[in-house]
């Protein structure tokens, strides 16, 4: 479904601030895979998401979605294949537009926009049914401006908007990080339900190891622009937070060891 081949991305090349954000990343997602990505700040998780979504273009390497190369495709063109939820609850919705207008915008993701009305009677019914799955009562507030919703409600709406058109690939970039624990739990549960129901191929960045273990069938750990650890299926199910931390320390120290070996 998604394939990254030898992706490299360097920021500020040739200056003292040079930073290799991604080092020859290879990653393949099979249809229906739900991959969680963990890693410390600066590990390259967000850069990888941005390379996939088209916000950043890689220096070398190629991105493939559905067997098609999309490396040079602009962000908005690529959006036909990709649904996205951002970390900031304000980022995924238009605050001065109503709930139904926002849903209409999302509904057009896969289609060419025309001069037909965005919100029709038929679509409104469809939106209402979709909103019911959130169980937040938003189906009764279709004409409320989204700016009036709470962060949790907005994030739930963003999640619905990203998924209800069944994208080929769903990108979740720390989408529960800005919420309080109760809202984060709600969004996590909604994510799980929606991905399972629609069988979406999903890539989720998170700082919450417990969440990374609970969701998905594959787990990836990134560090310094590389994928340093990967677990899937049974192996992932048997993982715990402690084991993950141990693994991280082990790999980190072996890196240090090899660095030291080179210096000596």
């Amino acid at each position: 479904m998604l394939e990254l081949r030898q992706i490299t991305k360097v920021f500020n090349e040739g200056t003292v601030d040079e930073k290799v954000a991604l080092k020859s990343i290879n990653l393949t997602l099979a249809p229906g895979d739900f991959v969680t990505i963990i890693g410390s700040n600066g590990a390259g998780k967000s850069t990888m998401m941005n390379v996939i979504s088209g916000k950043l273009l890689p220096d070398t390497g190629s991105v493939w979605i559905n067997g098609q190369e999309v490396t040079q495709l602009s962000e908005h063109k690529r959006a036909r294949y990709i649904g996205r939820v951002f970390q900031d609850p304000l980022a995924g919705t238009a605050p001065n537009m109503t709930i139904e207008e926002n849903l209409a915008l999302a509904y057009n993701r896969t289609k060419r926009r025309t001069l037909k009305f965005g919100v029709t009677k038929q679509r409104r019914e469809f939106f209402r049914e979709a909103l019911k799955t959130l169980q937040l009562g938003l189906e009764n507030r279709l004409t409320a401006k989204v700016g009036l919703l709470s962060g949790g409600e907005r994030q739930a709406l963003s999640l619905l908007m990203a998924t209800f058109t069944k994208p080929d690939l769903l990108l979740l970039d720390e989408h529960t990080a800005a919420l309080d624990p109760a809202r984060a739990e709600l969004i996590t549960q909604l994510t799980k339900d929606m991905v399972e129901k629609l069988q979406l191929t999903t890539l989720m960045v998170t700082h919450n190891m417990e969440q990374a273990l609970r969701l998905g069938n594959r787990l990836i750990m990134m560090d310094q622009g590389q994928i340093i650890f990967e677990a899937s299926g049974k192996e992932k199910q048997s993982l715990t937070v402690e084991k993950l931390l141990q693994e991280f320390q082990r790999i980190r120290s072996s890196h240090f060891a090899s660095d030291r070996a080179m210096l000596v």
Binding site: L90, A91, G92, A94, N96, M97, A104, N108, R109, L115
Partner: protein, 334 residues
């Protein structure tokens, strides 16, 4: 007095078309577009020159609209493809248009006296039909008989047709994407909308309305002048801000109505201000600037006063509540 207000309302309707254009760029696209000062004159210049050369005034006005669209698109291109800051792209285009407008007109002023214009055609048709007499018979104002009702009615009709079309457009799929471009660019491009194209289209449409308004103002006033666009963006903003403050902007349809109202109110305020003894016609721009300043400051002052009153009331209520609570505990201890 009545005559002054009557012609203010007439002019208000014509300028309202320009104000709707400014609303589109300033509010919908969140793009402070200064092209307006130039494109307004472009519309006037194109229409006047075509009319002088014998073109039908209605066609001339339509061509003016198209010219404005192109000017707006260029500003949009400068911003989206040239990556130039919005304010700067507008200013650059405004300056460029100054020379282009002079080229179009060939001189700095083109009079339209004795020419067939939209205004004269409509007035004549109106008189032939005898509508003016009928209206004057029904509404008999002793002190004041307007020259003709034609301009007022036809311009009001034109403005409302444009308003309705704009309202409808902003409800379509493209229109929603246009609004989202001004509201949250990152979001709408993650839903596969080409924000560059939408910005260019939106600015084109905005300046098309502005140029159309310029074409009508030229025909209404009987001339086009290279300096007639100076400060036009401020007049547009004044209309938008006054309108929103007075009539509200809850929905798009409400906001566009408010903008039309704001354009008329602005004209009336201006006409009244000019009747003050010590103010002269040359003070128009100063008055405009003052009106805009006031319409920006006054609503803020009012709402902060309201907030203060609300807090005071809250504090009083709580004090009263504590008294009651205190009395109750006293009672219990007894």
């Amino acid at each position: 007095m009545f005559t002054a207000i009557f012609s203010s309302v007439e002019a208000g309707f014509i300028y309202a078309i320009m104000a709707l254009g400014v609303y589109l760029s300033f509010r919908i696209l969140d793009f402070p577009d200064l092209t307006v000062d130039g494109s307004f004159v472009t519309g006037a210049a194109v229409a006047s020159v075509l009319i002088i050369n014998g073109t039908n005034p209605f066609i001339a006005s339509a061509v003016a609209l198209l010219a404005g669209f192109i000017a707006g698109c260029v500003t949009g291109l400068l911003h989206t493809k040239g990556k130039i800051n919005p304010l700067l792209s507008g200013i650059l285009m405004m300056i460029a248009l100054y020379s282009i407008n002079l080229r179009i007109m060939g001189r700095s002023n083109v009079p339209l006296l004795q020419q067939e214009t939209v205004v004269t055609v409509l007035t004549e048709a109106w008189q032939k039909a005898g509508i003016d007499e009928a209206i004057n018979r029904v509404i008999s104002l002793q002190s004041f008989v307007p020259r003709t009702w034609a301009v007022l009615f036809c311009m009001a009709l034109t403005v409302f047709i444009i308003k309705l079309l704009l309202d409808q457009l902003l409800k379509t799929e493209i229109g929603l994407a246009l609004r989202a471009t001004g509201d949250n660019k990152q979001m709408i491009s993650s839903f596969s909308a080409n924000t560059d194209l939408l910005t260019i289209f939106g600015l084109g449409l905005s300046n098309a309305l502005v140029a159309f308004s310029g074409a009508l103002v030229a025909q209404y006033g009987g001339f086009s002048d290279v300096g007639m666009g100076i400060g036009m963006i401020i007049i547009g903003l004044a209309s938008v801000i006054i309108g929103e403050a007075l009539f509200g902007a809850r929905s798009v349809a409400r906001a566009t109505l408010a903008v039309i109202g704001g354009a008329i109110v602005y004209r009336i305020i201006l006409a009244l201000a000019l009747r003050v003894q010590f103010l002269e016609t040359s003070d128009v721009k100063l008055i405009t600037a003052l009106i805009v300043m006031l319409s920006l400051i006054v609503p803020n002052v009012l709402s902060s006063q309201k907030e203060k009153r609300r807090k005071k009331r809250r504090a009083q209520e709580r004090e009263r509540g504590e008294h009651v609570a205190g009395a109750q505990t006293d009672y219990k201890s007894v």
